[in-house]
Symmetry: C2
Subunit: 414 residues, 2 copies
């Protein structure tokens, strides 16, 4: 019998009616004889409401308590989804907290998964029930409730699919799949039928919000087939899968915009291997997630190291960089906020040249200043001013001919 | 070092400001050097909001899911109380679900406690932290979250106090202690300084809502000193404690009114030991809580058995009685709702006579018809029409001279 993990996001579970629409998807899967694990996020604005309560209780809510508080959102959602399934005549059991079997580190509010014990889940599946799992949460080594941070429920779904060896993981959300760009900014963006894990990962890292990078990475690591589709509308969605040869023929598959970026620069540090190591030790100590790293020699004795992070982490990152400068005996720290990054992603970049120059030309034509460039094998990202973001995404999307109706194959200037 | 369990009810935790007032009580106890376990109910109307969500999801919410849903109310409350305590500079840790260490039966929505494992709690207390426990919940043998039913958080507090061998359990609520009658009905009722466990238990069984009968019974069983006081106002409250000689000199200590009673009567059953046993087997099967039992022989061959229950249980109780009649081969079932009971409680009843006649005279003078009478060693209860309830409570309260300013010693007519 096939096993499917279905994940429903918060916007798809806004109220009882929306929840019933999602429950119908589970019923459809049951009707074709599949075993189903359902992973749910907190309903609608439940998490925001809980965060508001936390802010009233404490100016800087302690993370362990915050986890216990936030986990109630998914827990309630799981209970209500189980009830809703039962009104459709489907036997269902809800699992939360320890019942999920997800052991994590004790790094509260952004825990990582250590191991998954699916014995209880499997027993209940074998018993013929749909298991409804509260996403986003796990249990620390000392038995406290932890949460997995942003995108946590996506990660729960993909990780459970991996450890249950499910046939696929279906991520139901408020868009009809992965698009060549965010349709709220670029209305004529096209839905992509298929994407490789690497492409999804790079788009997610670049800011595409349809799947969290951690979930994309987990899917890639364990080769979990993932389908992303609209929760309340029919459609093929986007299949995230192993790379196939035809994918390489497309130079650029999609673009993404990531807002709220800060750049922290440590200038005038000694030009020695000790400088980056001092900086990154301090950043790790401060628990700062670094997006990109840029290093440039100023002269034989002096180097400049810059990192980009989410703007929310800038204060911690600044403090860490200042400690590093003190450790090194010299160096000046500057912090810029109000930045964004625009990225283009495509497997064809490996073999086609000229993608960077097409992108730079498009941005230059739109009078957009590029502050930094970082690249991976299949992605080019430009740091720009945040207010240029939407125009930059439009320009990149157009330059690579990604719009509906445009020639699918972009002009690849050699 | 002394150990105190402090329990705060939902009306005392309506918002962040109310919660801070409660946190001050914890701070006061810490200031005198006590170790403190805090037990919290769900905030204000949180439980009602969750029940409304459940009703939208399912016409008759399955009990296991309901438990998972409802438990989030206390869980959130515990997290927020822990945060609030930390703003006062008090080290605190919140515990919910499995962390509480409370193992229960799997009788969802009204589980009973099997055992309490206080190892984790004690380790955290020894570590110098205030432990904030989500009340009302436990974990079933298969690891599902259960709830303890009405008064569950009171029971959590008293049971934890018992198993931690605490010096006392303080129940903070929205009234200043136990009164001679419900002050919302009898405004000149007097606060009682002290009550024995038996008196508290009988008043609670009689309908006094300040402490749940299960919590009162647990306090009595383990001789836990309990103080009931107002959460947000200073005052001595009421101490529930072992019986002392002087308590017996007061014939009637208090009165209580219990609304929403139904009486289920099985008439025309065989006058044999098999009749009550058939009825009670069926009632147990249907999970019906029986308050009082009244049996009367009609003739040598025929008996009538009546039970009273909460009106909400009347449909289940009716079905059970009809099954019993079928088992017995004869008997007719009638159900009356719209009933209430008025009770008077006092240790002096053991040695003084005439309490019943004083009560009946007072009710007769008020033209209140008594439908049934049940007694315990220290309580007399009369089943009356619900619409007579408030007048009956006034009449009883006055007849035994319980009002503020009245002679404390009632005229004991012998």
């Amino acid at each position: 019998m096939s096993l499917i993990v279905q994940k429903f996001g918060g916007t798809s579970l806004a109220d009882a009616t929306a929840m019933r629409l999602c429950a119908r998807r589970v019923a459809d899967a049951r009707a074709i004889g599949a075993s189903v694990v359902v992973v749910v996020s907190a309903m609608g604005r439940a998490t925001d409401d809980l965060l508001a309560l936390a802010d009233e209780a404490h100016p800087e809510p302690p993370r362990r308590d915050l986890d216990l508080l936030l986990a109630t959102g998914e827990q309630a959602s799981a209970a209500l989804m189980s009830m809703t399934l039962q009104t459709l005549g489907i036997r269902a059991v809800a699992c939360a907290g320890l019942g999920v079997g997800l052991a994590t580190t004790d790094r509260h509010t952004r825990a990582t998964i250590d191991s998954i014990d699916t014995d209880r889940l499997r027993a209940r599946l074998d018993d013929g029930a749909v298991v409804v799992v509260a996403g986003f949460q796990g249990v620390s080594p000392v038995g406290d409730i932890t949460t997995l941070g942003r995108g946590g429920s996506d990660l729960t779904a993909v990780a459970l699919a991996a450890s249950l060896n499910a046939d696929r993981c279906e991520i139901y959300t408020d868009v009809a799949g992965v698009y060549t760009a965010d349709t709220r900014i670029v209305p004529d963006a096209r839905r992509l039928d298929r994407l490789s894990y690497d492409q999804m990962l790079e788009l997610a890292e670049g800011g595409a919000r349809v799947l969290h990078p951690r979930a994309a990475l987990c899917a890639k690591t364990y080769s979990v087939p993932v389908r992303i589709a609209h929760a309340h509308a029919d459609g093929p969605g986007t299949l995230i899968t192993l790379e196939s040869r035809d994918m390489e023929s497309i130079v650029v598959s999609g673009c993404a915009l990531k807002p709220d970026i800060a750049r922290i620069t440590l200038a005038g540090a000694p030009n020695s291997p000790g400088s980056p190591s001092a900086l990154f030790e301090r950043l790790a100590e401060a628990d700062v997630f670094v997006d990109d790293i840029i290093q440039a020699e100023a002269d034989a004795n002096t180097t400049t190291i810059a990192v980009t992070t989410h703007a929310g982490e800038a204060p911690d990152a600044r403090r860490a960089a200042e400690f590093a400068a003190a450790d090194l005996g010299r160096g000046a720290v500057t912090v810029e906020t109000g930045l964004a990054s625009v990225s283009v992603v495509g497997l064809g970049m490996r073999t086609h040249t000229g993608v960077a120059s097409t992108l730079f030309r498009a941005l230059a034509d739109a009078s957009i200043n590029v502050r930094n460039v970082t690249t991976s094998e299949i992605r080019i990202s430009c740091i720009i001013d945040a207010h240029d973001g939407p125009r930059a995404l439009h320009a990149a999307h157009a330059a690579f001919g990604l719009a509906r109706g445009a020639s699918v194959e972009p002009v690849a200037p050699v």
